[in-house]
Amino acid sequence: MQTLDELIAGAPIFAGLAPEHLALIAGCASNARFDAGEYLFREGAPAERFFLIRHGAVSLEVDAPGRGALVIETLHQGDVAGWSWLFEPYRWELDARAREPAAVVAFDGLCLRGKCEVDHELGYQLMRRFAASLTERLQATRMQLLDVYGHAGSG
């Protein structure tokens, strides 16, 4: 059974961080669990937390009137759900729902933002890592947008 510190140190998004930064981050972290179907966060609500997925699957969804919940992406072990806590207006832009029972490390975004204001090096290191993650997700999203399997670009 891993400790919170071990989980954080082993997470891909925190790879290479200095021990004192890992400690700062851990200070804002706690374990959490979600049942299948439970929401981690909902569109429009204040974004004050983010989550590192330890087990289980979480889907990022948009609720479209008349069409129900449309799944944009599914996240799994090692993925981070939520970055709106880092950027104004600090509001969630999507729903995140556990598809199966999910064990996560939950981070207090308010707490971590405060620490970043004080320790700019921490802030820079976190920004870099979140930017890299965002880039990867953006590229994937672009590919989804291209609808490569659609009629004019079929395989």
Binding site: V71, A140, V148, G155
Partner: protein, 293 residues
Amino acid sequence: MPDRAEAPVAAFDGGAAEPGPMLPAPFVVSAKRQDTSDTWTLELRSRAGTPLEFAPGQFTMLSAFGAGEVPISISGGGGGEGEEGLLVHTVRAVGLATQAICEAPVGEALGVRGPFGRPWPVEEVEGADVVVVAGGIGLAPLRPAILALLARRERYGRLLLLYGGRSPEQLLYASDLERWAARGLEVAVTVDSAGPEWLGHVGVVPRLVHRAGFDPDGAVALLCGPEVMMRFTFSALVQAGVSGDRVYASMERNMQCGIGHCGHCQLGPTLVCRDGPVYRWSELEPWLAIREL
């Protein structure tokens, strides 16, 4: 010296006489099923009784009467999976010729020429972990390769299939996937978008690559899908540490003869019908970077 006597010409019905490579043999549709809104799988049987021998990754030039001819990868046939003596083609109706093929009822004869092209290197990669990555209808040309790998399962390390489609309704071969998983193929499926009833992954295929957790040293990848998807997948494979000369891809271009004569399928210094459709990615890479090559 007398003129050459005109030999009487027998009608060619795909029988014993050696036909030229431009003459189609009639193959009768013995069964068909609809896979998705625009894709059908047809099982064909040679009217002359001579089954087509082929290697995984090859294609035939397929035509319905009077509607033109198109290159279609072979997606099954030969031995195994209850397909002895059959030629199986999964076809997407995107134009006149493919529409006519997909509409052909059981009992009608289609024209078949081939097989042509360079196949998947299933024997050359024995001993390796093989990662099969398919996008959309790209799974069809890979199906014979998967069957060949599973037929000699003990000669390979891990076998993985990473398969992506547009939506759950556009996925192919659902029952095959289950059977293959039981035979030792690790299957991961993802779709670009889905409604709430879909309980699987949503996201693009390259993300499956990141998550698959295979050992890149000695791994070999076989790719087939839209070119954009293959390029993005290749990036992901490289990021994961797979070497470019151990990635193979099936390419596609306009084809009209299948025998390296008509010139349409040129891809830089190669002819896809002859030097492909399966290529080593490291050969292709500099050429794929040229716009409108």
